[in-house]
């Protein structure tokens, strides 16, 4: 629909209304000069503050009428953010559902899909209720306030705490997609043997106990570990697109949960080969494509940082997707499709916290590490310990996320991201063992503790209330029929 009255509308509803900044001062102030209007407009190109060059009083309020391009989203940035949000949803539906679904046995394919779908609906409702607010409203170091509960005050005007040019509601939906995929990643470790009702309850609690606090600490404007934007952060860590928030929390929680849950019946004895490497590969392709929204989208704007993240994501992923199967070729004589796919996903995981902070060289180094270390964990370490991490969520996401958080500390460079000069001047010295590494290690530690303790407590609560595992009969027959009354494939008819 064309927006005939938009110019007028924006002045009336948004400029005069939604933004408290200018709400009471909009009248009787002098009109902006051409020069001021121009500078507000130029800020759009650079994803900068449109009021940066405008005159303000000591409270930071404008002393002129705001130009019409202040307090409104910018089309290029909003376009990219909406595209990115859609791409991140695509990662879960159907990306992850296929990646994981292909790896389980035929009789459990639908259970994986149902679980991904459940989490999507459930987390959206929690997000709307208070989740978004707990993460992104300012409040405390560890959890945000409730000012955005029910998405109140979340309008199409940008929330300048997070972006000058992306609509606040788009930002909230973009971040929702992260909150959806994170718990869904856990499903890989516990596949084929957890009751649907137990997953429901576990995930609900886990969002409150692990995800919301962790996301607030790292990304909340006053978060305890938000090294980039919070000058007062206790731990001056950085995490561009979610190495700790997404992959470490989910990966370590997955390990704990799969240990508490116990092994699948027949583990180590029966053939549990993936029922469809084809679906798994399709899912991998979708994850890779969608991950551009995840990583480059985390710049919140189609700016120079997004551009850099796009490049580093591509390089690290492609390199890791190459290294992993080459290791297989070397060690086992055959490069497998699952090796290519695992390498790609590992590359994506490891570059996630780093993508907006490292250079092309850094990305290639990260790609090599991502191809080697998680490969070694899935190939060797797992069998040494013998836990049943069904689809290697721990090997790929926990290990990958942790390496990523560490290497981000080593490889973050001022040349890649000028924002590192704001609050992290002393941390980022452009050498491999720069002070930032220590901050990253602290963040890794805190994240580990939160994920492990949180998950342990929740798992035992869920066990007590609804129980964790289905009956042996159900597990043997497959969850699809028992939990959902459906079969994945019908031959006849």
């Amino acid at each position: 629909m064309k927006t005939y009255l938009l110019t007028i509308a924006l002045i009336t509803t948004i400029a005069l209304g939604a933004l408290p900044l200018r709400a009471d001062t909009a009248t009787n102030l002098p009109a902006p000069t051409v020069e001021q209007r121009l500078s507000a407009l130029e800020a759009y190109i650079n994803n900068g503050d449109p009021t940066g060059a405008l005159p303000k009083d000591t409270n930071g309020n404008l002393t002129i009428t705001a130009p019409t391009t202040v307090g409104v989203p910018g089309p290029g940035h909003n376009a990219w953010q909406m595209t990115s949000a859609a791409l991140v949803l695509f990662m879960t539906l159907p990306g992850l559902a296929l990646f994981y679904g292909g790896l389980v046995r035929r009789k459990n394919i639908l259970s994986v899909m149902a679980q991904c779908l459940l989490i999507t609906g459930l987390v959206t409702i929690l997000w709307w209720l208070c989740g978004y607010s707990l993460v992104f409203h300012s409040g405390g170091k560890f959890l945000g306030g409730l000012g955005f509960a029910f998405l109140n005050n979340v309008t199409s005007a940008p929330n300048t705490d997070y972006s000058y040019w992306v609509s606040h509601n788009v930002f909230s939906m973009y971040q929702l997609m992260f909150a959806i995929i994170t718990p869904a990643l856990i499903l890989g470790a516990i596949a084929e043997r957890m009751k649907f009702s137990a997953i429901f309850l576990f995930m609900t609690l886990w969002m409150f106990v692990v995800y919301f606090p962790q996301a607030h600490m790292i990304w909340g404007i006053d978060g305890f570990m938000n090294g980039v934007w919070n000058a007062k952060a206790g731990i001056k860590a950085i995490d561009f697109a979610g190495g700790t928030v997404v992959h470490m929390t989910s990966g370590w929680s997955a390990l704990i949960l799969c240990i508490i849950l116990g092994k699948r019946i027949g583990f180590g004895r029966e053939n549990m080969a993936p029922h469809s490497m084809v679906l798994c590969m399709i899912g991998t392709g979708m994850l890779w494509v969608g991950w551009y929204g995840f990583n480059a989208g985390s710049a919140v704007g189609a700016d120079v940082i997004a551009a850099n993240a796009f490049m580093t994501t591509t390089l690290a992923t492609a390199v890791a997707s190459f290294v992993w199967p080459m290791m297989e070729w070397l060690v086992r004589g055959k490069p497998s499709v699952l090796g290519f796919c695992s390498g790609a996903v590992a590359g994506l995981v490891v570059i996630t916290p780093a993508c907006g902070f490292v250079t092309a060289t850094g990305a290639v180094i990260i790609g090599v590490a991502a191809g080697l270390i998680p490969w070694f964990f899935c190939y060797k370490v797992k069998s040494w310990f013998g836990y049943d991490d069904a689809l290697d969520t721990f090997g790929v996401h926990a290990i990958g996320g942790t390496i990523g958080a560490f290497l981000t500390g080593c490889l973050a460079r001022n040349a890649a991201n000028a924002n590192l000069a704001t609050n992290l001047k002393t941390q980022v010295t452009d050498s491999f063992f720069q002070p930032l590494v220590l901050e990253q290690l602290k963040a890794i530690g805190l994240t580990l503790v939160l994920a492990i303790v949180g998950t342990t407590v929740i798992a035992f609560i869920v066990k007590a209330i609804v129980g964790l595992r289905p009956s042996e009969e159900v597990e043997v027959a497959g969850l699809d029929l028992a939990d959902h009354g459906e079969e994945g494939y019908h031959q006849a008819g």
Binding site: G266, R269, E270, N271, V476, L481, G485, E486, E487
Partner: protein
Amino acid sequence: MKKIEAIIKPFKLDEVKDALGEIGIEGMTVSEVKGFGRQKGHTEIYRGSEYTVDFLPKIKIELVVTDQQLTKAVEAISKAAKTGKIGDGKIFVSSVEQAVRIRTEEKGESAV
């Protein structure tokens, strides 16, 4: 020579194969079948429509053995395949008149 046909539960295949291996039988042919019997099937519902699935997945093992191997083989299968729950399956034995090993054109018991 006798032909043994056993209908068993799918997840018992490996155990049956191993049990047969232990008594020296290392040739058999296996197929996926659907069984109908006392064991009840399940119902699937798709939106408004219910479908009763009476036919359950089973594995059929066929093996031709010499007359001497017969009793041991039947016992091995029946022991390995047993869970004691309904639907464990059946073993049928019939006579085979001739056997040929295609590769060598051997005939009779040595072909089995």
